[in-house]
């Protein structure tokens, strides 16, 4: 490879299962955008200009191969009326669920994205980022899958109970959530997102047995993904997926986020050229990594997954914790440049 590719060329080449100049790196950084500017997380997530400034500063500092305007998962539940609790040193949490009883689902309506500030922040930030970076750097749009959103809408325990006891209301909830999330994904694409990261932890066999996923989450994912007007990467947010790899291939996604609980080599063998792999550095261990640790982790991941393309070095969860020091982020991209050349 003679010339250095742009991050967009590098990423698209890898996602096509060809070998780019080097392995692309997706540092999924959200809260670090606030940290680098010295502003509170809540303020950062409410200001599209701050997000753009933060993303560009992070990209410049670490040589990241993507940008994202994602704020926080609870923003999508906020749209349905849920409260969000902000912290100074971590991701906002969804507060008390809005669906108190199963019958509340009967009157649930698809919210208007334009009327929800938290959604519009991401859409506006995506537009502004696109204006800044054009076709040079991919912008990752993010949606919570309709099937995983109910954890925040009604609480995890109640959602499991609904799934196993009230299939009619589960279908009704999925219909509302699907319409909302597909619309939100497509609005991000119109704004300039290159690819959509579809976060679906509940579909992981870590959470649901395969047969229940096939009966429920699989159909939701397949229908949703076919309506999203850009390539989709599914992410199980640290959950395993090998026991459902055949169904993930059927979903129509181009790639998958890999948990560090699964061996990247085994995942590469199982996915072949059907799915590109994104992962699987352990984000929760990153706060204590030394430069040597980083080199060892990056080398190991690249040796297992990079051959033939179809691989993006990234974390295993889809978001790097606030506590990860800047040095570690710099060592990750530097190691990838050193060991990820094709």
């Amino acid at each position: 490879m003679n010339h250095e590719m742009t991050p967009m060329e590098r990423t698209l080449t890898a996602l096509r299962h060809d070998e780019p100049d080097r392995v692309p790196t997706f540092l999924n950084l959200t809260m670090h955008g606030a940290k680098i500017q010295g502003i509170p997380i809540k303020k950062y997530f409410s200001d599209p200009d701050a997000i753009v400034k933060g993303q560009l500063a992070l990209g410049k500092k670490f040589g990241n191969d993507c940008y994202n305007a994602f704020t926080y998962s609870a923003a999508e539940a906020e749209t349905f009326g849920a409260e969000t609790i902000f912290y100074e040193d971590g991701p906002p949490n969804a507060g008390r669920p809005v669906i108190g009883s199963f019958s509340d689902i009967d009157s649930l309506e698809v919210p208007e994205i334009d009327n929800t500030r938290s959604m519009m922040v991401t859409i506006e930030a995506t537009k502004k980022l696109k204006k800044e970076v054009g076709e040079d750097v991919p912008i990752i749009g993010v949606v919570i899958s309709p099937f995983s959103l109910p954890i925040m809408q009604m609480g995890f325990e109640n959602y499991l109970e609904l799934m196993y006891s009230d299939p009619a209301r589960l279908r009704a909830l999925m219909k509302v959530n699907r319409e909302f999330e597909v619309d939100y994904a497509n609005r991000q694409i119109e704004a300039g997102a290159t690819v959509i990261m579809y976060l679906d932890p509940v579909s992981s066999p870590t959470i649901l047995p395969r047969e229940k996923f096939v009966e429920t989450g699989f159909g939701v994912a397949q229908k949703s993904i076919s309506s999203i007007k850009a390539p989709v990467i599914i992410h199980f947010a640290s959950g395993r997926f090998l026991p459902i790899v055949d169904k993930v291939i059927e979903m129509g996604v181009i790639g998958v986020g890999v948990s560090n609980e699964e061996d990247l080599g085994a995942v590469k063998t199982a996915c072949g050229d059907k799915l590109a792999l994104v992962g699987n550095l352990n984000g929760l261990q990153m706060p204590t990594w030394t430069e040597k640790d980083v080199e060892a982790q990056v080398k190991d991941a690249i040796s297992k997954a990079a051959a033939g393309g179809g691989y993006v070095l990234s974390d295993n969860h889809g978001e790097i914790p606030y506590q990860v020091p800047e040095d570690v982020l710099g060592w990750i991209t530097a190691s990838c440049r050193k060991y990820g050349k094709y």
Binding site: I85, D89, G90, N93, E157, T206, P209, S238, T288, Y322
Partner: protein, 212 residues
């Protein structure tokens, strides 16, 4: 296969199928010849442990663990008729979720531990100052902490300091995703132990209470 092994196999199948009626029939009727506490110790506890280990190894799902522990807790509470803690005296144990609003983890822990016949106080979502007061006032011996986010997991260090400064001699056992994905974290936050499964915490408590 002996009778107990057969009961265990059938109970496990029933639990994985979320078939509460079959599970109740096995414990209440088909094992009626055995004293209640023996049914708990010889069949229910090992089966729940197997399902938990299966989840850890990727052979079972969290939904399996949730429904199994829910069914078993109901069976055991009924079977022991409020006579928790079985044949032996047991220290005071409590569980809390530190700051997060997702309470599934601590509920699974409560249900699993009570399924073994051991009582546990469930505090729900707590912040550090509130939890310190509760634990000291209640004279808790072992405090189980469930966390989902790294920031909450790091608060355990603060919790430990505040409990120590109040002279509250409680042992802290931590669990949840941050500790499962970073096996060194429990030591860095000054916890006494980490358990990736509820019954591992119980095992630690039993071992810790034995004469050294």
């Amino acid at each position: 296969m002996d009778e107990i092994a057969r009961f265990k196999k059938e109970l496990k199948n029933a639990l994985l199928q979320i078939d509460a009626n079959t599970a109740k029939d096995i414990i209440y009727n088909r094992m009626a010849d055995l004293p209640p506490y023996d049914r708990v110790q010889m069949v229910i506890s090992p089966v729940l442990e197997e399902i938990g280990t299966g989840w850890e190894n990727g052979d079972a799902a969290l939904a399996n663990l949730y429904f199994s522990s829910k069914i078993c807790e109901e069976i055991v509470l009924n079977l022991l008729n409020g006579n928790m803690n079985g044949k032996e005296g047991f220290p005071k144990v409590a569980i809390a979720t530190l700051e997060d609003y997702h309470l599934l983890g601590s509920k699974v822990v409560r249900m699993s531990i009570q399924s073994t016949g051991q009582k546990i106080i469930e505090y729900g979502r707590m912040d550090v100052p509130g939890l310190v007061d509760k634990v000291c006032d209640d004279g808790v011996d072992y405090l189980l902490i469930s966390t989902l986010m790294l920031r909450s997991a790091l608060k355990v260090k603060d919790l430990r300091e505040k409990l120590d400064s109040k002279g509250c001699k409680v042992k802290i056992i931590v669990g949840g995703a941050p500790f499962r994905f970073d096996w060194g974290l429990w030591r860095r936050v000054d916890a006494d132990f980490t358990a990736s499964l509820p019954l591992m915490a119980l095992e630690y408590i039993k071992r810790d209470g034995e004469p050294k």
